[in-house]
């Protein structure tokens, strides 16, 4: 009799574990609940969920790590999804902070953007390239396919290999806004397209006739070109001399309070901005 009971129990265990699994799966589908942020005096605790731009993601992750190291009772979950997804998520209230690497479009819901860093986009060529600088118009023409040989912008007689980011990339968006868009041009369809700053870097580093554009943090091993006689440095970007710069935003639905406010203040404060600088982003100009 006891062995019958035993085998019944086994079936029971199996069933209950199946139910448990089902419960876990179902729970995963439920929308993330907004935490009630109630910081007690002195010690912060709670959970912050962030989602959005993948350009912001690496920076946000490092800032979150530093923040949780300082306040161990706080958990910060950083995820990607893209700027559009970040705006959608914060408008729908499924996250506490959204992230965007571009300005909020007029067609999008009204949310509160808070700048956490700036990011510059540098025009890069292979180290063997003799060119030192270009004008924005020349870059626009190169990307539109109107200039196809380096000799037309003062370089060697060689066909230019145009390397661009894929459709939808935040880096591409800022490039299109300040470079090709400024001259009402479009990036040509027969450019080469790669899907990350890193891939552009390795392509330009290996092809001596290539031109590309990457975030300031990715220029190692490449030659950066002066744009309109301004070198792509953090100082020039901060002073507004360098033209291809964008802001990176955290988005909130209402005026931030509690741990969300603490986290955003931390990111904008000296500790957060030091991380931004170390990672090749341009720190905020706060007065």
């Amino acid at each position: 009799m006891s062995s019958i009971k035993h085998s019944m129990k086994k079936v029971g265990v199996l069933l209950s574990s199946t139910l448990l699994l089902a419960a876990v799966i179902l729970a995963g589908c439920a929308p993330a609940s907004a935490p009630v942020a109630t910081p007690q005096a002195g010690e912060l605790s709670g959970t912050i969920n962030e989602a959005g731009s993948t350009s912001v993601q690496p920076l946000a992750e490092l800032m979150a790590t530093a923040f949780t190291a300082k306040y161990p009772k706080v958990t910060v979950n950083i995820s990607g999804g893209g700027s559009s997804a970040g705006v959608k998520a914060i408008a729908a209230g499924t996250v506490d902070i959204g992230a965007a690497s571009r300005d909020i479009k007029i067609t999008e819901p009204d949310v509160i953007p808070v700048c956490i860093a700036r990011d510059g986009v540098a025009i890069v060529v292979n180290e063997a390239n003799s060119l030192t600088g270009v004008t924005i118009e020349q870059v626009a023409k190169i990307y539109a396919g109107e200039i196809t040989n380096w000799k037309d912008v003062g370089g060697n007689d060689a066909t230019i290999t145009v390397v661009s980011r894929e459709e939808g990339s935040g880096t591409r968006e800022v490039f299109e806004e300040y470079v090709t868009g400024a001259f009402k041009k479009k990036i040509k369809a027969d450019a080469l397209f790669f899907d990350s700053n890193g891939a552009i870097r390795s392509k330009v580093a290996s092809d001596k006739n290539a031109v590309g554009y990457v975030s300031f943090g990715y220029v190692a091993g490449l030659k950066t070109l002066m744009v309109n006689n301004v070198a792509p440095t953090i100082e020039n970007a901060q002073s507004g001399k360098y033209p291809i710069v964008r802001r990176l935003y955290f988005l909130t639905k209402s005026v931030p309070s509690g741990i969300v406010k603490e986290f955003i203040d931390f990111c904008r404060g000296p500790e957060g901005q030091k991380i931004a600088l170390n990672e090749g982003y341009i720190p905020l100009v706060l007065k």
């Binding site: 062995s3 019958i4 035993h6 085998s7 086994k10 079936v11 993948t54 990607g80 999804g81 893209g82 700027s83 559009s84 997804a85 959608k88 066909t159 290999t161 894929e166 459709e167 939808g168 990339s169 935040g170 299109e176 479009k186 369809a189 027969d190 450019a191 080469l192 397209f193 790669f194 899907d195 891939a199 390795s202 392509k203 290996s206 092809d207 006739n209 290539a210």
Partner: protein, 297 residues
């Protein structure tokens, strides 16, 4: 481990039936899961892609030459042609190579070489596709560039990388079907005075034909689906390639490149691209399996 006492397993015992029935249905369920997953994936892709077909029109979507998100122009003909070219290029290299490798392994190679080459080819399957891409990007592309034909990112580079990737599929299925050719055929041919080459070319290969075709079709399915390695060596330009040195873009490449930032109609158009791929591969694989079944009859 608990032991179930004999009384439980006695015929006629109620619990025995319950126990057996439970496991039977549990196993049915496990068996059904893979099918259910496929069904759910198909449903999801179709649901997300449908609005694009509706707004753009199936024909405009498939035959459109321009893919320009800022203009809301979504035509995937360049990608369909890109995928087709790369697949054909890969098969032009891997089919002869694969078939003759299989012949070599079954009918020509001494035992020692066989025991080296066969595991080597099987090992090719286990290499992650990003590694193929990396080797292609760092070695093959520069070689093509130095030959003076454009930037090196090209249909040719993609075809070569892909050929190596589908080689194991073609070799192993062809090999199986050659082994299945009865030895009597070979003996018959040889006894009629055929040379070894004549025996292989006129007797063995024709007898293994359906298996060889199946291997090609399945290799083709793998080639069309390959993504990561392709993105790294093909350049991803949205144009119809005009030579083997021209860059191009594949259907899967578009999905992998653009999905993470896409929203709205762009998102739907990418899933519609997935639908096109899904149908392509469904047709190819059904054809391949029919061929394989034909062989077994």
């Amino acid at each position: 481990m608990s032991k179930i006492s004999d009384s439980v397993l006695q015929p006629g015992c109620e619990l025995r039936r319950v126990y057996d029935g439970f496991w039977r249905y549990a196993i049915y369920l496990f068996g059904a899961i893979s099918f259910i997953i496929l069904l759910l994936i198909a449903l999801f892709i179709f649901r997300e892609g449908y609005p694009a077909f509706q707004k753009i029109g199936i024909w405009q979507f498939i035959s459109g030459l321009r893919w320009d998100v800022s203009d809301q122009a979504y035509g995937i003909l360049p990608m369909i042609i890109g995928s087709t070219y790369v697949t054909i290029g890969a098969l032009l290299i891997s089919v002869p190579l694969g078939i003759f490798t299989a012949v070599f392994l079954t009918d020509v190679a001494p035992q020692m070489m066989r025991s080296i080459i066969r595991p080597a080819i099987e090992l090719l399957v286990g290499i992650p596709s990003v590694v193929y891409g990396l080797v292609g990007m760092l070695m093959l592309v520069p070689i093509i560039r130095q030959s003076g034909h454009g930037s090196g990112d090209s249909v040719l580079a993609a075809s070569i990388v892909l050929a190596v990737m589908v080689l194991p599929t073609i070799v192993s299925i062809t090999e199986d079907s050659i082994i299945a050719v009865p030895n009597a055929y070979r003996e018959g041919a040889l006894s009629l005075g055929a040379t070894r080459w004549q025996m292989i070319w006129h007797v063995v290969l024709p007898a293994a034909k359906s298996g060889i075709i199946a291997s090609i079709v399945l290799g083709m399915g793998r080639a069309i689906g390959e993504t990561m390695a392709m993105i790294m060596v093909i350049g991803n330009s949205i144009i119809i390639p005009d030579s083997i040195f021209s860059p191009a873009r594949t259907l899967t490449g578009t999905l992998a490149l653009e999905l993470k930032y896409a929203a709205g109609l762009h998102w739907n158009a990418l899933f519609a691209t997935g639908v096109v791929l899904f149908v392509f591969i469904l047709i190819l694989n059904s054809f391949g399996f029919l061929m394989l079944r034909g062989k077994n009859k």
